[in-house]
């Protein structure tokens, strides 16, 4: 049975992991490879590295970092943050990333999804959608959640699927950083429309929230950052709770 995935997300700045609340008060949290190894050992099913480095020169360190991660980590990982071009995607995939996550760039240039998925296959193209609620609908935001595009999130998600995205990383901006739980209604609506996997993101505060995202929201995977970074939720305990709730989940170490 296909297992539901637990995905810790690591924010990367200038080649280092940073921890912060809502992108404020960023603190250095050490070497990404070390943290990634720890998560992998604890049973993470996949990892997402989100580069929040501002300058282009410093972004070059990202490819080197991806090479280091790929040497050490034997589970799949996605890299995202500021990727705009097919050749940037190629560099990251050749360095050993399994998937790339595209966000602002595909809103500005939707054809990028077609070009990238034709060149490398849909399986490695993750469309990241930051959605904010307005009444009964959701609007797509870009540039780290600072700019409203005016696009309807559900329509946009259908479009990225048609253009060849292989997976949706769906972040509820209303819930992100609140620890009040995922936006289950948004998750359900997205799942009703698409035929590709959906990763729930934004709002995880405890184990129950993650179970809810899968059981009620129909999420294929659950992504979170701070609950894992600050060790509020252990991956092992989370997986055991999934199992107790009859959610198929992968255990390592031959048990």
């Amino acid at each position: 049975m296909l297992a539901k995935r637990i995905i810790p997300c690591l924010d990367i700045k200038d080649g280092r992991t940073v921890k912060g609340v809502n992108f404020e008060d960023l603190r250095d949290a050490g070497d990404p490879v070390e943290l990634a190894t720890r998560y992998s050992d604890e049973g993470a099913d996949e990892l997402v590295f989100l580069d929040i480095t501002a300058t282009k020169e410093k972004r070059k360190t990202l490819v080197d970092l991806v090479k280091r991660i790929a040497r050490e980590i034997n589970i799949p990982f996605t890299v995202g943050g500021g990727i705009k071009k097919v050749d940037e995607i190629e560099d990251l995939l050749h360095a050993g990333a399994d998937k790339v996550s595209l966000n602002s760039a595909i809103v500005n240039d939707p054809e990028l999804i077609n070009r990238a998925s034709e060149a490398f296959g849909s399986q490695c193209i993750v469309a990241a959608v930051d959605a904010k609620r307005f009444g009964d609908s959701w609007s797509v935001f870009i540039k780290g959640g600072t700019e409203d595009t005016g696009k309807d999130a559900l329509e946009w998600i259908s479009e990225v699927e048609q253009r060849g995205a292989g997976e949706i990383l769906l972040t509820s901006m209303d819930r992100d950083g609140t620890k009040e739980g995922f936006d289950i209604e948004l998750l359900k609506k997205v799942n009703d429309r698409v035929h590709i996997p959906v990763i729930a993101s934004g709002g995880a505060g405890n184990i129950e929230h993650c179970i809810e995202a899968v059981k009620e929201g129909g999420a294929d995977a659950v992504l979170a950052a701070s609950i894992f970074h600050f060790q509020e939720v252990e991956i092992k305990k989370l997986k055991k709770s999934f199992k107790d709730h009859s959610i198929p989940v992968r255990f390592q170490n031959h048990n």
Partner: protein, 207 residues
């Protein structure tokens, strides 16, 4: 020495990193003559069947794969290309293993099949030594090989399909052992042990 076939469709970094982690020496090559010098061949693959087959043919690698008696391990698309044909681009494969690749029915579940899944109906074989039906491997694919007489293990997603296949010297796995944590490393280790056991036997008989 293991050779990893380079034909523009492989996720070479992942496979070579996995062999590095197992301290196994290897070459990466697209030259059939160079491949002849290896003890075994890993045939990786990510992407689309049509350009992959074209790339193999352009370099004469299709003939090498069909004719070699060295152990071959096809991974993901590499495994799929071992079959006769695929619905993907309606292309012909290498035809080493009988059968046709089909696309998952999108009306019955999400496609691609992406994530960690287990086996059933496992046939006892060296590749699966110490690996049980409760262990998970990482899959990413939209096309599948139906279960047939060459299936060594099957997986269920939307329908049953071949997770592991074997015929003569050729083995194939639909999942990515190089991305499947410690369980995946164990499977690659099993393949290497199978190869080295065989390589030392060949050397002895040559004496």
């Amino acid at each position: 020495m293991i050779a990893i076939i380079n034909y523009d469709a492989g996720n070479l970094a992942s496979v070579s990193n996995a062999l590095d982690r197992l301290d196994e020496p290897y070459i990466i090559s697209n030259d059939p003559q160079e491949l002849e010098l290896s003890d075994a061949v890993i045939f990786p693959g990510v992407g689309h069947a049509v350009p992959a087959m074209k790339s193999l043919k352009r370099r004469g690698l299709d003939r090498f794969l069909k004719e070699t008696d060295k152990p071959v391990l096809g991974i993901c698309l590499g495994m799929q290309l071992l079959f006769e044909s695929s619905e993907e681009g309606d292309t012909k494969g290498l035809g080493i293993i009988p059968g046709k690749l089909k696309k998952f029915d999108e009306s019955k579940g999400k496609v691609p099949h992406m994530g960690w899944n287990t086996f059933t109906d496992t046939v006892d074989c060296p590749l699966l030594n110490g690996i049980s039906n409760s262990q998970y491997f990482y899959y990413v694919h939209s096309f599948y090989a139906p279960v047939n007489e060459y299936s060594l293990a099957s997986c269920n997603y939307i329908n049953d399909f071949s997770a592991v296949v074997g015929k003569d010297n050729v083995l194939g796995v639909q999942f990515h052992p190089e991305k499947s944590g410690t369980t995946g490393s164990l499977l690659l280790q099993n393949f290497l042990e199978h190869v080295h056991g065989r390589a030392s036997k060949v050397k002895k008989s040559a004496l």
